[in-house]
């Protein structure tokens, strides 16, 4: 046993040494772009390709609202050739560092500065930061981003133009594909009952109605009462839908509780919202994430 552990540790130490030095060598040559969210990082990577090193501050499956960075990541921010963020308080945990970026003269691209904003429903004009649920707005961001990328020394215009053109086409294809998919849903059924707060732009663009609902706590599902399910069952009855798009730790248990307490039979569908997934989990790129959500929504609401 002792021998096995020793060998493993030695192998590990070798690996660490190797990757540590290789990474350092590359960083010195290429321009460095630091991006806050992994959704935007994917977009940036599609434009710059191998021309720059893209650092993503937020790993997959992390909540951008409350994410905080390490000292090492803060240093990356200061040394960046360009910092790309979402804006509108999405990166609340980074607000201090992002303000400092501007003060230190690092170029800072804020995506939501380049789109027509929507307000969060039910607020006094608070702007909604979750613009990426509308691919047409992502195209607007890409157009503005391309101009800033061209200013970075070491990035060649030719390959950048080509890559941006290709990616813009993919976004436009996605937009067309989504329009077709959502148009196929009968208008009365275009209703998303959800506890997510990210679908405002999607709803506006594709003529869907978002109905907010409170999801009962999982602690009540073992022994629920009708009152526990009132908000959700009310929303489902109002919308007359056969599927809801809610995040629940125990979706099967929730479906059973709805069926037994309120006689409502619905399918519970989970969607990707604020972060890409890990590789191989269905939403590792922005395009995949949007395609997966479109398929889930249109499939569930058409049935």
């Amino acid at each position: 046993m002792a021998n096995v552990t020793k060998v493993l540790a030695l192998v590990l130490s070798g690996l660490l040494l190797l990757t540590g030095c290789a990474g350092q060598g590359q960083q010195e040559q290429k321009p460095s772009i630091v991006v806050t969210t992994n959704i935007l990082a994917d977009v940036v990577t599609n434009l710059v390709g191998e021309q720059a090193t893209v650092h993503t501050l937020m790993p997959p499956n992390v909540d951008p609202h409350s994410f905080e960075i390490s000292a090492q990541q803060a240093a990356l921010l200061q040394d960046a050739d360009l910092v790309v963020s979402n804006g509108l308080n999405l990166e609340e945990g980074l607000s201090r560092q992002l303000t400092a970026v501007g003060e230190e003269g690092v170029n800072h691209f804020v995506a939501t500065d380049h789109i027509e904003l929507l307000n969060v429903p039910g607020t006094n004009g608070a702007a909604d930061p979750h613009f990426w649920t509308d691919p047409a707005r992502v195209v607007q961001v890409v157009d503005a981003l391309e101009k800033d990328l061209k200013q970075i020394p070491g990035i060649s215009t030719g390959p950048l133009d080509a890559a941006t053109g290709t990616y813009r086409q993919k976004l436009e294809d996605l937009d067309a594909q989504m329009l077709t998919a959502f148009s196929a849903i009968p208008p009365a059924q275009r209703q998303i009952v959800t506890n997510h707060h990210v679908f405002g732009y999607l709803a506006e663009r594709f003529d869907l109605k978002v109905i907010g609902a409170v999801i009962p706590s999982g602690s009540t599902l073992a022994s629920p009462s009708a009152a526990d399910l009132a908000s959700l069952s009310g929303a489902i009855r109002e919308a007359q839908v056969s599927a809801i798009f809610v995040e629940s730790a125990q979706p099967d248990k929730l479906a059973r509780a709805l069926a037994s307490e309120t006689k409502i039979e619905v399918k519970i569908v989970d969607l990707y919202t604020e972060s890409l997934s890990m590789a191989g989990q269905g939403a590792e790129s922005y395009l995949q994430m949007m395609q997966a959500n479109t398929e889930q929504i249109s499939h569930a609401l058409r049935d």
Binding site: L8, L12, G20, G23, T123, S217, T220, S223, S225, A227
Partner: protein
């Protein structure tokens, strides 16, 4: 055991080697000796966001074994054991247990992040953070967030206060923002905004005050109020509320890094014995409740500053406000029954049978009884009966579950909210 140590040493060596490749600025700090293996600080980084509040009950048995009961899926896990527990407090994430060694702090690894219009929820790894010694019978007051801001610890026996840095706690370190020193008195140190409210002793009750301290611990001129015998404080979404002899003092931050105080006095003629000794509520909500002597409970809304007194037939032992639209309050009476009352309708919603008949007759068992409320349910532990009752307060005080966790609930509290 031997082989584990070997691996840790090698792991450390590897991490030191790695720093050779980093910019020179980082090298010095990384070579500081450390007792932790390279990945020892990963509890927060390792946390993952989950779909809903990861509600758990933490329990400690008579011998000090501690455990967590997952209210969503009814699984159980164990925590580091504790010695001679004499009190258990929480901010919704950390467990602060008064033990033989001092104030022992455990990270339950589950918490909610209140993002004003919505919440985010996290599950990480439970672990022991450490022990704050010289803190017998410490009074702990949490803030609105467990990963930012601070937590106040005050020791009445010594008059010392320490404001803990929550971001450091989340990294597994006990680290102070500042400390306060006064003559020993019954008092508090409670976080508010970037600073804290600290009680100040006086020659006579009329001299006792609470003072707002800025982020460095310096008193802010003009930001103080009279408060004799501060008996308990709790953070609400509408400010920090403190139970004083005069009444309830609600402290709120002001734009210029200061604080203002609103006093909601007790009605004229309120006897000393009827004043609230502690304030309990569903985390962060503006409604708070406290036992009113032998006759019911006080219920205060810290947003509207409305004070109500609810009268009950029997003396209440515990009471908590849910802060929902019916204005539910949940109470345990001296017969061991759980009562639910709506302050909005002024009607009793329901009353259970005697759930804690033996516990209420045993002062030692009663000491560990806690009544916790979340958005949907209330929980009360019955140490002598070796059970926890889950009450659906919105449904006529129905007992929705009777739980018997492996770690007997001699002490209990709720985390993850």
């Amino acid at each position: 055991m031997k082989s584990t140590k070997y691996a840790v040493v090698l792991g450390l060596a590897a991490s030191l080697l790695l720093t050779g490749c980093l910019p020179s600025g980082a090298t010095e700090e990384s070579q500081q000796p450390t007792n932790e293996p390279a990945a020892g600080h990963g509890a927060v980084e390792g946390a993952r966001e989950v779909a809903e509040a990861p509600l758990h009950l933490a329990t400690i048995d008579k011998r000090g074994s501690a455990g967590m009961f997952d209210l969503l899926n009814e699984t159980e896990s164990s925590l580091d054991s504790l010695e001679e527990v004499s009190a258990l407090q929480t901010d919704g994430r950390y467990l602060f247990a008064s033990t033989a060694e001092g104030l022992t702090i455990l990270d339950s690894g589950v918490w909610s992040w209140n993002h004003t219009d919505h919440f985010h929820f996290y599950r990480g790894t439970a672990r022991k953070i450490g022990i704050l010694d010289n803190a017998p019978k410490a009074v702990v007051t949490g803030g609105p967030l467990s990963t930012a801001g601070s937590t106040g610890v005050y020791v009445p026996a010594t008059g010392e206060g320490i404001l803990l840095d929550n971001a450091r706690l989340a990294n597994g370190e006990i680290s102070q923002r500042f400390t306060t020193h006064h003559a020993p008195h019954r008092g508090l140190l409670a976080p508010l905004g970037d600073g804290a409210i600290s009680s100040q002793p006086g020659q006579k009750p009329a001299d006792m005050r609470v003072q707002y301290l800025d982020a460095t611990g310096e008193p802010v001129a003009g930001a103080s109020a009279q408060c004799a015998e501060p008996a308990g404080a709790t953070a609400t979404v509408a400010g920090l509320v403190i139970a004083c002899a005069q009444g309830f003092l609600v402290a709120t931050e002001t734009a210029n890094d200061s604080a203002k105080f609103d006093l909601v006095p007790y009605p004229a003629g309120t006897k000393a014995g009827d004043r609230a000794e502690s304030l309990e509520h569903r985390k962060a909500r503006p409604a708070v409740a406290g036992v009113a002597g032998d006759h019911g409970a006080w219920v205060l809304n810290t947003r509207s500053l409305q004070l109500q007194r609810v009268l009950t037939e029997h003396k209440l032992l515990r009471v908590s406000a849910v802060g929902d639209s019916p204005g539910h309050i949940v109470a345990l009476d001296d017969r061991g029954r759980v009562l639910v009352y709506s302050t909005t309708t002024g009607q009793s919603v329901g009353i259970t049978k005697e759930l804690l008949p033996r516990t209420v007759k045993d002062p030692e068992a009663l000491r560990g009884v806690s009544l916790e409320t979340d958005a949907q349910r209330a929980y009360v532990n019955a140490p002598s009966e070796n059970k926890i009752y889950e009450i659906d307060f919105a449904d006529s005080a129905r007992i929705s579950r009777t739980l018997a966790p492996e770690t007997s609930p001699h002490w209990m509290t709720q985390v993850g909210n």
